[in-house]
């Protein structure tokens, strides 16, 4: 395997460094997803509100998030805030802010969609049985919404893990950056390291994301 450069990974602590880099990506994703889910639940319920202004504002927020590439948002938060407000935000914090900003909107839309997908007859028949408003929402609508929501929000997790690959652009040393460093350091000794190392990074991402998305598909099939 000398010629394909996989051997580089067995030198010193290279393999462990790479995995540590992967953990940085996963860590940022987990923190961002956790916050996004909580905020998304609130935003999602507000998105179904009867207040037109509220709906319009949230719709605009969602559209902005949908249209702007995450990389642009990262640059705005990381470089822009320093210039405008003179505060220095760490790269990690910038990344989490951007992912939460993005994740909350997406999660909110999923929540909105799940609530809207409950047929009217479910409300009607629950009220007809004499349940009050709280009981209808808590015992009838909420459980059904959650079932639709969970597979979809798991997909959001994999999207987020994939998107964390961008944070190397604002200087966070995650798996891709570590990979570049390893390749650079071994440029002379094994000139083909780029092949082996990038294949491994590709597979690492796949091995993290694939089981999660299979799991989401399974849940979706079982629950619908």
């Amino acid at each position: 395997m000398q010629s394909l450069g996989i051997d580089v990974l067995f030198k010193g602590t290279n393999a462990i460094r790479l995995l540590k880099g992967l953990w940085v990506s996963v860590e940022i994703s987990i923190i961002s997803v956790a916050i996004s889910i909580v905020l998304g639940l609130v935003i999602g319920v507000l998105m179904t509100s009867k207040n037109r202004i509220m709906r319009f504002v949230l719709r605009a927020y969602l559209e902005v998030v949908r249209i702007m590439p995450q990389m642009v948002l990262l640059f705005i938060v990381y470089f822009g805030t320093t210039r405008v407000f003179g505060i220095n935000i760490s790269a990690e914090l910038s990344a989490i802010i951007v992912f939460v900003f993005w994740g909350t909107a997406e999660m909110g839309d999923l929540v909105r969609g799940s609530i809207k997908s409950i047929p009217r007859i479910q409300y009607d028949s629950a009220y007809a049985l004499g349940l009050n408003k709280f009981q209808v929402h808590f015992f009838i609508i909420f459980p059904q919404t959650i079932r639709r929501l969970i597979p979809l929000s798991i997909n959001l997790v994999t999207r987020m893990i994939k998107t964390t690959s961008l944070v190397m652009m604002i200087g966070i040393v995650e798996v891709l950056k570590v990979a570049q460093q390893i390749i650079e350091a071994n440029r002379k000794a094994s000139p083909n390291a780029a092949f082996g190392v990038f294949v491994v990074v590709f597979l690492l991402y796949f091995l993290v994301c694939w089981p999660i998305s299979r799991f989401a598909v399974k849940l979706e099939k079982r629950w619908t």
Partner: protein, 219 residues
């Protein structure tokens, strides 16, 4: 914000927008071609192809475009396959987009009621005629919102091209910030140019979605 700075940057951004659009559209066309032929192959249950497509879809949907581009641009040359940054961007976008497009069009094809193809067959149409005249047009309009969402996703993903030194919008902004430190102006223009590129597509997408959802054929 310095208006003179903005004015002097605009030509550079225009050039970058053009390059972004060009590579983006070529990538999307590639993705569309892969999507259509892949979905058709799955629909007709072509034995080996179906398996291969399954692996391809899982691989490319579960890895980031950035990593795919690094692989194509930095790793493949070690095997003797050297391609330009532009081709790499188009190819990468086409491959990741193709995986998403197959899924979108496949679910469109399978959403069409079986009696549609049966009644077309009973009129004496061949499998090919049924596919092109009856199933595909209906599946296409069902898939349209999904296809538009993919197009927006792919146009956004072009921002990753900057990492392989393709002089797109993102690259230009980063470059100018690095050289002259006019951060605010550069980021402002960056946002404006992405809006110019994506807002029309997004609006078109929601119009199409509303059409498909509420009106279908005949209103």
């Amino acid at each position: 914000m310095d208006l003179n700075v903005l004015r002097s940057y605009i030509p550079l951004y225009n050039e970058a927008l053009l390059l972004t659009l060009k590579t983006g559209l070529l990538g999307i066309l590639t993705a569309f071609a892969i999507g259509l032929s892949g979905a058709a192959a799955i629909y007709f249950n072509v034995p080996v192809v179906k398996k291969v497509l399954g692996i391809y879809i899982e691989l490319f949907r579960n890895t980031p475009l950035l990593v795919q581009l690094f692989f194509i641009y930095f790793a493949l040359p070690k095997l003797g396959l050297r391609i330009s940054a532009e081709t790499c961007g188009i190819l990468g976008l086409g491959l990741i987009g193709g995986a998403y497009m197959i899924e979108t069009m496949r679910s469109g094809l399978f959403s069409i009621d079986r009696v549609q193809s049966e009644s077309a067959l009973s009129l004496g149409m061949t499998d090919r005629q049924v596919f092109f005249h009856i199933i595909l047009p209906q599946a296409f309009s069902v898939s349209m919102p999904g296809i538009m969402a993919n197009v927006i996703f792919l146009l956004k993903e072009t921002s990753v091209f900057s990492t392989i030194s393709l002089m797109d919008l993102m690259f230009t902004a980063k470059d100018l910030i690095g050289m002259y430190a006019k951060t605010i102006e550069c980021l402002f223009l960056l946002v404006i140019y992405y809006l110019i590129m994506l807002l029309p597509v997004s609006i078109l997408g929601s119009i199409i979605e509303r059409r498909v959802r509420y009106a279908e054929f005949g209103d």
